[in-house]
C-alpha cells in the first residue's frame, strides 16, 4: 500500500537535538570579541530540529524507496551496473584510510601512496598505457582532463590551430559537453550502416585543425569498431590524437587494450568497469592514462618511488596543474583496487567474457518481441528500438516505467540518438542466466500488454511508491526548495 512520506521539514519540534558535540572546555570568550562587527549571523537558518532516532528512521525509510544494484537487475546501458562487492566497502572505511589527511607528509601516508602506485601499475597493464593519474573524480572529469592534456601537448609544440574535436554519434553522452568546456568546436561523425564510424565521413572531416577524435569502443551500440586500425591511421596522419572513452571497457578486458589499438589518451570509469558503487550519482573515479609523449602534461602530483619510499612528485613543469582539490576520490580507488586483487587477470577477462555472453544472450531473447537495429554479434550491450511500440501507443519511456512495475530497473532510454525510441540495455557480467530469463519474460509480457491495451502501459507506473508526477504543474511553478508557508 502506498504511504505518504513526510518531508524532514514537516517533522521534529523546536528544541530537539540530534547532535552531540563535545562541550566547550576552553575558557569562554564573548563572541563579539571573536567575530568582526556585522559578520555575526543574526537570523538562524530554518532547519528542522530532530532527535537522532527521527533522523535515522527518516533516511532509512527513504533508502527503502530507492533502487540499487542490491535491489534488483539494473541493465542501464553504458553504465555497467555490476554487483559492488561488500568487502570493498568494509575496507574503504577503515580508520587507516578514512582518517588520512591529504596534506600529511609522504612518509606518514606510505600505505595510501603504495596503493595508488600499485593501482597505477594495474591500470597500465590493463590498458597498455604508460602512466595514469587518479585525480579525475568521474568519467566526464576524465574526459576533460584528457582533453586538457591533449591541448597542452599541441600547445607545447606551438601547434595552435587545432580547434576541433571529432565525436562519433555513437560516443558516450558527455563527450560534446566536455569538448565545449575545453574550448573546442565539436564535429559530429556519422555512423555507417553497420554501426561503425563512417570512415569516408571521418576522412572528410579530418584536417590540420583536428585536435583529437574521441572514440567509445565498443560504442554505445555495443559494437566494436571493425575499422579501428584505419580510424587511428586517419586521425594520426593528420596530426590529431586519439582519445579512448573507457565507458565500455567492460567488454574487452584481457582481449584487447586501448594502448595497443593506438589510443594516445584513455579514461576509465572505474565505478563501472571495476565494480565500485555508483552512489546514486557519485562519487565515481575516472583515471586518465596516456602514452609516453603525453606524460609531461598530466596533472600534478604523480606518485613515484625511490627505493622503497613512495612520494608525490610535483616536479612536472609542463603539467596542466590540478584538476581536483587533492588527489581524486581515494575511497573509490581503494574499492577498485580491491576488485582487481580479487579478480586478477583471469577474473577480469572472465568478467568481460561473461558481459559479452550475457548481452548476446539477452538480445537473442528480446529479438523475438522487439526490433534491434544493427543486429550483429555485439559486445557488452545492445539497443532496442521501440519505434513499432510507439506506433501502437507506448513509448520507450513508457516501457521503462512498465519495467519498474515488474521490479526491474529500466535500460537507458532515448540514447544513443541515432536509434529512435532507444532502450540501451547492458546486462553486464554479474547477472545470472535466471535473472536475464526473468527480464526477457517481463519484456515479453509488456510487448503483449502493448498489443492488448497500449494505453494502460502508457499510464505506467502503477505499482511504484509514488504516483505519476504532475510534470505540467511542476514546470509551471517550479519549487526549488522547501520554504515555510
Amino acid at each position: 500500500m502506498r504511504k505518504r512520506k513526510a518531508l524532514l521539514f514537516e517533522m521534529g519540534r523546536s528544541g530537539r537535538q540530534g547532535y552531540s558535540l563535545p562541550s566547550c572546555d576552553v575558557p569562554e570568550k564573548p563572541l563579539d570579541e571573536l567575530i568582526p562587527q556585522n559578520m555575526k549571523r543574526t537570523e538562524p537558518p530554518e532547519m528542522p530540529e530532530l532527535s537522532e532516532v527521527e533522523v535515522v528512521r527518516h533516511y532509512t525509510e527513504l533508502s527503502t524507496r530507492n533502487f540499487g544494484v542490491d535491489t534488483g537487475f539494473y541493465p542501464l546501458g553504458s553504465c555497467t551496473m555490476k554487483y559492488n562487492p561488500k568487502v570493498n566497502e568494509e575496507v574503504a572505511v577503515l580508520p587507516g584510510f578514512a582518517y588520512l589527511h591529504p596534506c600529511q607528509p609522504d612518509k606518514t601516508a606510505q600505505g595510501a601512496l603504495e596503493l595508488y602506485y600499485n593501482m597505477e601499475q594495474h591500470l597500465k597493464e590493463l590498458t597498455g598505457m604508460k602512466r595514469f593519474t587518479m585525480q579525475p573524480a568521474a568519467g566526464a572529469h576524465g574526459e576533460l582532463t584528457g582533453l586538457m592534456v591533449i591541448q597542452a601537448y599541441h600547445r607545447h609544440r606551438d601547434d595552435h590551430k587545432r580547434n576541433k574535436v571529432l565525436i562519433p554519434v555513437t560516443a558516450h553522452g558527455t563527450n560534446p559537453a566536455t569538448v565545449t568546456m575545453a574550448g573546442y568546436e565539436v564535429v559530429q561523425i556519422p555512423s555507417d550502416e553497420r554501426g561503425n564510424v563512417d570512415l569516408e565521413a571521418l576522412k572528410e572531416a579530418v584536417d590540420e585543425n583536428t585536435s583529437a577524435l574521441m572514440l567509445t569502443n565498443p560504442s554505445t551500440l555495443g559494437l566494436f569498431e571493425e575499422e579501428i586500425i584505419d580510424v587511428a591511421k586517419v586521425v594520426h596522419n593528420a596530426g590529431g590524437l586519439l582519445y579512448y572513452d573507457g565507458a565500455n571497457l567492460n567488454a574487452i578486458m584481457g582481449y584487447t587494450r586501448p594502448g595497443d589499438m593506438g589510443f594516445d589518451v584513455v579514461h576509465l570509469n572505474i565505478h563501472k568497469t571495476l565494480s565500485t558503487p555508483h552512489g546514486g550519482g557519485g562519487p565515481g573515479s575516472g583515471p586518465v592514462g596516456v602514452n609516453d609523449r603525453l606524460i609531461p602534461f598530466l596533472p600534478v602530483p604523480l606518485v613515484d618511488k625511490i627505493d622503497d619510499q613512495f612520494y608525490f612528485d610535483y616536479d612536472l613543469p609542463e603539467s596542466i596543474g590540478k584538476v581536483h582539490s587533492f588527489y581524486g576520490n581515494f575511497g573509490v580507488v581503494i574499492k577498485a583496487y580491491n576488485y582487481v586483487c580479487m579478480m586478477g587477470a583471469k577474473g577480469l577477462k572472465q568478467a568481460s567474457t561473461d558481459a559479452v555472453i550475457n548481452a548476446n544472450y539477452l538480445s537473442s531473447l528480446l529479438k523475438k518481441n522487439y526490433h534491434i537495429p544493427y543486429d550483429r554479434i555485439r559486445k557488452h550491450e545492445f539497443v532496442l528500438s521501440a519505434k513499432p511500440e510507439l506506433k501502437k501507443g507506448a513509448s520507450a519511456g513508457d516501457i521503462a516505467k512498465a519495467l519498474l512495475d515488474r521490479g526491474f530497473h529500466p535500460p537507458t532510454v532515448y540514447f544513443p540518438l541515432i536509434v529512435e525510441e532507444a532502450l540501451m540495455t547492458e546486462p553486464n557480467d554479474t547477472e545470472s542466466k535466471e535473472t536475464l530469463d526473468a527480464y526477457a519474460q517481463a519484456m515479453e509480457e509488456i510487448a503483449r500488454d502493448i498489443d492488448e491495451d497500449a494505453e494502460k502501459v502508457a499510464a505506467s507506473p502503477h505499482h511504484t511508491v509514488v504516483g505519476r508526477l504532475d510534470e505540467v504543474r511542476a514546470a509551471r511553478n517550479p519549487i526549488l526548495r522547501w520554504q515555510k508557508e
Binding site: 566547550c24 576552553v26 532547519m47 584510510f97 588520512l100 588527489y327 511504484t464 526549488l480
Partner: protein
C-alpha cells in the same frame, strides 16, 4: 577456449551454464564473440596482474598490510586543515551513506528513486537555508569545481571573458579553477595585503573593467582569517556590471553571516566539513547557491531538484529545467553533468538534519573558541609569530616559526615523534611567509589537546 574458473562475482562463470548460454545464441566458441577485434590488436599474452585472491580473508589480510603503513589522526593528534578538515563524523552519516539502496543506485527516475530525490531535495533545501539563498544544486565533484562552475556561470550571464580572483585563494583550488576556465576565460589575481591578508581594494579597482564577469573571494580565506570587506567588494563588482562570487565554509554558517547577506550573487564551497571523512581528500562535494532568477537557473549545468506533486497528492520530485543540462541538450551544451557526488549530498543532508540550527551554531562557537584559545596560547611562545597573517579566525590560522631558527619540516618531524601531526607546511606555497604552517582547530580538539600541542612545541623550540 580459455580456462574457466567459477568466480563468486560472476554467476554464469560455471562452464556448464556458460555452455547452455552459448548454445542458446548459437555460438560454438567464445572466440566467435570477439571476432570483430582486429587480429593485430588482439591481446595475446596474459595480463601481468596479481593472481586473483579469490577469498575475502586473503584480500583483507593484503589490504590491512598496506593500511598498517599509514599514520592517521585516529592515532595521532592532528592539526591539519587547509581545505580538508578534521571534523567529527557522526556515526549516522556513515550508516546512511552505507545503506546499499543509496550506495548501489545510480540514475533512477523519481519513481524507483523517490528516496534519493527526496533526500537530495531536502539537502538542497537545508543548504539553501544555511546559505540564505533560493537555489542550491546537487553536489559537484568538489569545491574547486563548484567555484570554477560558479565563475563560468557568471561569465555566461554577463557575457564577459575575464574573472578577478582573490590572490589569497587556496593554491590547489586556484590551480584547478584556472584549469577549468582555460582557455576561454582569463583569470587575473587580485593582490592581498601582506599583513591583514584582506583583498587590496586599490588593486581590485585598478583591474576591474568591462571585461570582468566576476569578482571571486573566499571567506574565511585559505589562511584562516575572515575577509571583512565582502560588502564593498560585492558593490564594486556590481558597479562595474560584474557579479560577485564568494566561497564559504558551511561549518561557519551557523554563526557567521552567509555571503548572500553581503549582496553576493553566487555562493560556492565544499561540503566535506558536513559529515564526510577526510579520506585522503577523497570524500568531497561542491555546492553553488543563487537567487531564484531565470538568468541563474538557466546557467546551472548541474541537476536541480524540485517538487513535482503526484497524481495521488504525495510529495514527488523531479528535475527543474532539465532541458538546460547536457543530458538533455547534447548538441549545444554549456558544461557537462554526470556522476559527481550525490551520495555525499545525501550524507551532508543527514549531518544538517542532525545538527539543525542550534547544532550548527554550537559547532561554529566551538571552532571559534578553541581556535581563539589556541591562538592565545601559541602566540605567547617565544620565537613564534601567531598569527602569521590576518586577524579574526574561524578554525585555522598560520603560524610563523622564523624566529625559532627551525624549519617547519624540522618542527613537524619532532612533533610526529611526540604523536602530533603539526600544521600544513606553507613554505613552498607562500615563500613570502617564510617558515610558516597552517594550524587547524575544530570541535574535536579539546583544551587538553591544545595544551599538549603548546607544551610539546615549546620544548621543541627551546631545544
Amino acid at each position: 577456449m580459455s580456462e574457466k574458473f567459477v568466480h563468486p562475482y560472476i554467476p554464469n562463470s560455471n562452464p556448464k551454464i556458460q555452455r547452455e548460454m552459448l548454445e542458446a545464441i548459437n555460438v560454438q566458441d567464445i572466440e566467435e564473440l570477439f571476432a570483430s577485434l582486429p587480429d593485430d590488436h588482439r591481446f595475446k599474452g596474459n595480463l601481468e596482474l596479481p593472481k586473483p585472491l579469490l577469498s575475502e580473508a586473503s584480500l583483507k589480510k593484503h589490504v590491512h598490510g598496506i593500511l598498517a603503513k599509514n599514520q592517521t589522526s585516529s592515532e595521532y593528534l592532528s592539526f591539519l586543515g587547509g581545505g580538508c578538515w578534521n571534523h567529527h563524523v557522526p556515526a549516522i552519516c556513515d550508516e546512511i551513506a552505507n545503506r546499499s539502496e543509496f550506495l548501489t543506485a545510480y540514475a533512477g527516475e523519481p519513481y524507483e528513486d523517490h528516496g534519493r530525490f527526496q533526500a537530495l531535495f531536502e539537502y538542497t533545501s537545508m543548504m539553501a537555508e544555511l546559505l540564505d539563498v533560493d537555489v542550491v544544486n546537487v553536489p559537484t565533484y568538489d569545491g574547486s569545481q563548484a567555484a570554477a562552475t560558479a565563475l563560468r556561470m557568471a561569465c555566461r550571464i554577463t557575457n564577459r571573458p575575464e574573472v578577478l580572483v582573490a590572490g589569497s585563494t587556496a593554491p590547489n583550488r586556484l590551480s584547478a579553477i584556472e584549469g577549468y576556465l582555460y582557455p576561454d576565460i582569463k583569470v587575473k589575481h587580485i593582490a592581498f595585503d601582506p599583513a591583514s591578508g584582506l583583498m587590496n581594494m586599490d588593486d581590485l579597482s585598478g583591474k576591474i573593467s568591462k571585461e570582468t564577469g566576476a569578482v571571486y573571494l573566499e571567506n574565511p580565506a585559505y589562511l584562516g582569517y575572515m575577509e571583512t570587506q565582502i560588502q564593498t567588494i560585492s558593490a564594486l563588482a556590481h558597479q562595474n556590471g560584474a557579479l560577485s562570487v564568494a566561497w564559504a565554509d558551511p561549518s561557519t554558517l551557523g554563526i557567521l553571516k552567509p555571503p548572500s547577506n553581503y549582496e553576493v550573487d553566487l555562493t560556492c564551497g565544499e561540503i566535506q566539513p558536513l559529515g564526510l571523512h577526510m579520506a585522503m581528500g577523497g570524500s568531497r562535494g561542491g555546492f553553488i547557491g543563487s537567487p531564484d532568477e531565470e538568468r541563474f537557473i538557466q546557467e546551472y549545468p548541474s541537476r536541480l531538484f524540485g517538487i513535482a506533486p503526484t497524481t495521488h497528492n504525495e510529495w514527488g520530485f523531479g528535475d527543474v529545467a532539465w532541458e538546460r543540462t547536457s543530458f538533455a541538450n547534447r548538441e549545444n551544451p554549456r558544461e557537462f553533468v554526470g556522476t559527481a557526488s550525490a551520495l555525499w549530498g545525501i550524507t551532508a543532508g543527514v549531518y544538517l538534519a542532525l545538527l539543525g540550527p542550534e547544532g550548527m551554531r554550537k559547532l561554529g562557537e566551538n571552532c571559534l573558541k578553541r581556535t581563539a584559545y589556541a591562538l592565545n596560547k601559541l602566540s605567547a611562545l617565544s620565537g613564534v609569530k601567531a598569527p602569521a597573517i590576518g586577524r579574526n579566525f574561524f578554525k585555522e590560522f598560520a603560524i610563523n616559526f622564523d624566529d625559532t631558527n627551525k624549519s617547519v619540516r624540522e618542527i613537524n618531524n619532532q612533533l610526529m615523534e611526540n604523536g602530533i601531526m603539526g600544521g600544513h607546511d606553507l613554505s613552498k606555497q607562500y615563500p613570502q611567509l617564510g617558515e610558516s604552517a597552517l594550524y587547524s582547530f575544530t570541535e574535536v580538539h579539546s583544551k587538553e589537546d591544545i595544551d599538549c600541542l603548546v607544551s610539546v612545541l615549546e620544548s621543541i623550540i627551546r631545544r
